[in-house]
């Protein structure tokens, strides 16, 4: 392994709609090294690699390729330069063969006729070179996720990639498959190919990475050879920011009365054997990594998908919530993770959205009462201080924070007993965040019970009475108020520690 650098990003700055998410980040990758990029969700890792791949434009800063300043403005250019990215969602076309996928867009041809045999042979050789025995004529659809990953790597290598970016490659494959992947990575490393490796699993970082860069809140907080770090120091660097004071104080803590009790909730391939009790006026947090099964669990709880097993009791009565309608009738509310695609009708105006759940309640004989609608909607707009031009403003035109408040308004109008909030502050600026925290706090104070899913640990610490951490669809542990720390959540979430 030489010390020659292959890529250097310097002082990269990037903003999305006036919110800076990268505040001058630098990253250097040397030839033939595996460089781990670590950080919490939202720390700016994916934005940084997107900038490198030309999927996002950088606002400031410079990128050097083998010492020469370059500008990459689209993924095609990145590929020609020698960069390749393997996304978490793989980019293969299922009904084409392995060979066709590997040569998609640069087919071997004679005139306008694809030379399939030649292509198959070349694909087979490329696969063999990274130690893979796969039949190039097989359709990609029938491959396992891990095999698809390998095909993508082989494709990247055959493109002449010299730096391969891998985004959480082991998040959806088994232990044994991960080991095979590491073997391939080591093999390619020996040939001078470099990797940027993004993962939340610290063990494998120590196993595979030569050097590490750690991001937090869009700034680089640590960089160095792997041997200079241990697990604790990494976790500290990743999460060790101070709690900001915008978490409101709640006076009366939760009461004893159990509002919702769940036993053995399971759904195939999503989550297994989840059990918890939610008390009146309690904010119960759910922590974990993205994809730990939290969203899937609450969707099933809310009747949007079916549970394979488990029991749910509301106020001591066993219930079967098979549709969102029955969940709503039982006074549940779900503020979903994906505000734009699940929470709102962006083509509808503010009033339509606020009234969507309660339209029937405020109607007579199936006819809506415009006057009443207007009153109810403006009341909610005032109550949540939603900043909107008018009642007829399209929700698609509102800012993220205000959109989220519209979703909240829609559900609060139905006066729910139990509110499920799935990443309620994702992608929202700091000011609106504080307002939403206050709203949630007020609701708890009024005796509503709240399930609060968040991947931002300070939020869980600041808001929750208790936190349940999920890891790969299972309960990794429960933390009571006093014991909630970022380190503990992180350790449970990444599966490095199993408590109790």
């Amino acid at each position: 392994m030489g010390n020659k650098e292959i890529v250097r990003m310097e002082n990269i700055k990037k903003s999305y709609s006036n919110i800076e998410v990268l505040h001058g980040v630098s990253l250097t990758v040397k030839e033939g090294e595996v460089h781990a990029l670590l950080g919490e969700n939202g720390a700016g890792k994916s934005t940084l690699v997107k900038v490198l791949m030309g999927e996002e434009k950088l606002d400031e800063g410079e990128v050097f390729w083998e010492g020469r300043a370059i500008k990459i403005s689209n993924p095609g250019e990145a590929q020609r330069t020698g960069l390749s990215m393997i996304h978490q969602e793989l980019n293969l076309i299922p009904d084409m063969t392995i060979a066709e996928n590997m040569f998609a867009g640069r087919e071997m041809k004679k005139g306008c006729i694809v030379r399939k045999q030649q292509q198959n042979r070349a694909a087979g050789e490329a696969l063999k070179r990274i130690g893979l025995e796969l039949e190039p004529k097989h359709k990609v659809r029938w491959l396992k996720t891990a095999q698809m990953q390998m095909v993508e790597i082989a494709k990247a290598v055959s493109f002449g990639a010299r730096l391969i970016i891998m985004d959480e490659p082991t998040s959806s494959i088994s232990q044994g498959e991960s080991e095979k992947l590491f073997a391939v990575i080591k093999r390619l490393k020996a040939k001078g190919i470099s990797f940027i490796y993004i993962s939340h699993r610290l063990e494998e970082i120590f196993y595979i990475a030569d050097r590490i860069t750690i991001l937090r809140d869009g700034t680089m907080v640590g960089e160095g050879d792997t041997e200079f770090f241990d697990k604790d120091s990494l976790i500290k660097l990743m999460v060790g920011r101070e709690l900001k004071d915008y978490y409101p104080v709640r006076e009366n803590r939760s009461e004893k009365r159990v509002v919702l009790s769940a036993k053995g909730l399971s759904r195939k391939r999503e989550f297994q054997d989840i059990h918890f009790e939610l008390r009146q006026g309690e904010i119960l947090g759910f922590g974990g990594l993205v994809g730990a099964g939290r969203t899937e669990m609450v969707m099933a709880l809310f009747g949007l998908t079916r549970l394979d097993g488990g029991e749910v009791e509301l106020f001591g009565n066993s219930v079967h919530l098979k549709t969102s309608r029955s969940a709503i009738a039982h006074k549940l509310a779900l503020i979903p993770e994906d505000r734009k695609n699940v929470g709102l009708n962006l083509q509808g105006n503010v009033t339509d959205n606020i009234m969507a759940v309660t339209e029937k309640k405020y109607s007579r004989f199936g006819c809506i009462n415009y006057k009443k609608r207007k009153i109810m909607a403006s009341e909610m707009i005032d109550k949540l201080s939603i900043k909107t031009g008018s009642l007829n403003q399209l929700t698609g035109k509102l800012s993220g924070g205000n959109q989220q408040k519209v979703v909240l308004a829609k559900w609060l109008l139905n006066e729910p007993d139990i509110l499920i909030l799935d990443e309620p502050t994702r992608g929202i600026d700091v000011g609106s965040k504080a307002e939403i925290y206050k709203l949630i706090n007020d609701m708890a104070q009024q005796g509503k019970s709240i399930i609060f899913i968040s991947s931002e640990m300070p939020e869980l610490i600041g808001m929750c009475d208790r936190v349940i951490v999920l890891c790969e669809g299972r309960m990794a542990g429960t933390l009571e108020k006093e014991e909630i720390t970022q380190e503990k959540i992180m350790a449970l979430a990444s599966g490095t520690e199993v408590s109790r």
Partner: protein
């Protein structure tokens, strides 16, 4: 202020286009702007207008109904079968049966979309062909003539000096407008078309809304078929061919978004009128029907293009 005026103009651009066209036509031909001719225009568009109302309801949910033209033919035949002068059934029998035929096919389409999860284009394309086939089968390809005066009078009569057809159109338009703008169901139609997933998680019965939307379109087509039978005084298995395209055109010209969740009936009716005025005007001017087709296609293109531009700018 100036901006607001501009925005208002843009929003109603299709209305101004219609007005402009009427002015141009009345300058070009003195016989255009006569009460009689205008009544004629509305009469001509009434069947398409009724279909377009149902079509709009379906398109608002994000779907499409290609079967309406075929429904027109089948329900015209059903009406004719039970209204031949010597059959002896009272008038309400063919009326009810023709309407039911439309609703039945609509229910079939709706069930296919909502519960069997067919893409709307596919299921209504299938039923378009199936229903047309049934029309040909039951008549053996031969039109049914000899309808009772009662049925013939439905569409061809006049009340207070105004053709009956115009009343039907106004009634359907008024009922549709009420449904879309003043009922919970109307709000749900927009919610489903705007974002089905969000609608479902808000507790809206998405499948029922879709089923109902296609049934409404079927009902409109059934009514159109009944009126068509009356108008041409026969039940004809080839009638209504291509009507679905005119209905879609009217909705699209009127600003109804094919992706769902946007648009309304005022636009659709103006769209239908625009098509009618162009046809009538070109007829008066003696321009060949071939040109009419080209011009109608161009109008759709221009109308939608303006729509795309406007929604991009705002």
């Amino acid at each position: 202020m100036k901006y607001k005026v501009m925005a208002g103009l843009k929003k109603t651009s299709i209305f101004w286009a219609l007005l402009l066209l009427v002015i141009i036509m009345s300058i070009l031909s003195p016989s255009f702007l006569t009460g009689r001719n205008l009544a004629n225009v509305v009469k001509q568009i009434s069947i398409n207008g009724i279909l377009a109302v149902g079509m709009t309801v379906v398109i608002i949910t994000g779907g499409i109904d290609l079967s309406v033209g075929s429904i027109v033919s089948l329900s015209s035949i059903v009406a004719a079968m039970f209204a031949v002068a010597n059959s002896g059934y009272p008038l309400f029998v063919p009326v009810i049966l023709a309407l039911s035929t439309g609703v039945l096919v609509g229910l079939f389409n709706g069930a296919g979309v909502a519960y069997a999860k067919f893409p709307p284009f596919i299921i209504t394309l299938s039923s378009m062909t199936i229903v047309r086939g049934i029309s040909l089968l039951v008549t053996n390809g031969i039109p049914i003539f000899g309808l009772s005066d009662g049925l013939i009078n439905l569409a061809n009569g006049t009340s207070l000096g105004i053709p009956n057809l115009i009343y039907y159109l106004i009634a359907v338009f008024a009922a549709g407008s009420f449904l879309l703008n003043f009922t919970v169901f109307g709000r749900h139609l927009y919610a489903v078309g705007g974002n089905e997933i969000s609608a479902n998680s808000s507790g809206i019965h998405v499948n029922f809304v879709k089923l109902a939307a296609y049934s409404i379109s079927g009902f409109c087509a059934g009514l159109a078929g009944l009126l068509a039978a009356s108008r041409i005084t026969s039940g004809n298995p080839t009638t209504g061919e291509g009507y679905e395209m005119n209905a879609i055109a009217a909705a699209v010209i009127g600003g109804v978004s094919m992706s769902g969740g946007k648009g309304g009936l005022i636009g659709t009716i103006i769209g239908a009128l625009l098509i009618g005025v162009v046809q009538n005007g070109l007829d008066i001017l003696g321009i060949s029907a071939y040109y009419q087709k080209v011009i109608q296609g161009l109008i759709i293109m221009v109308a939608v293009f303006i729509d795309i531009r406007n929604s991009k700018n705002s």
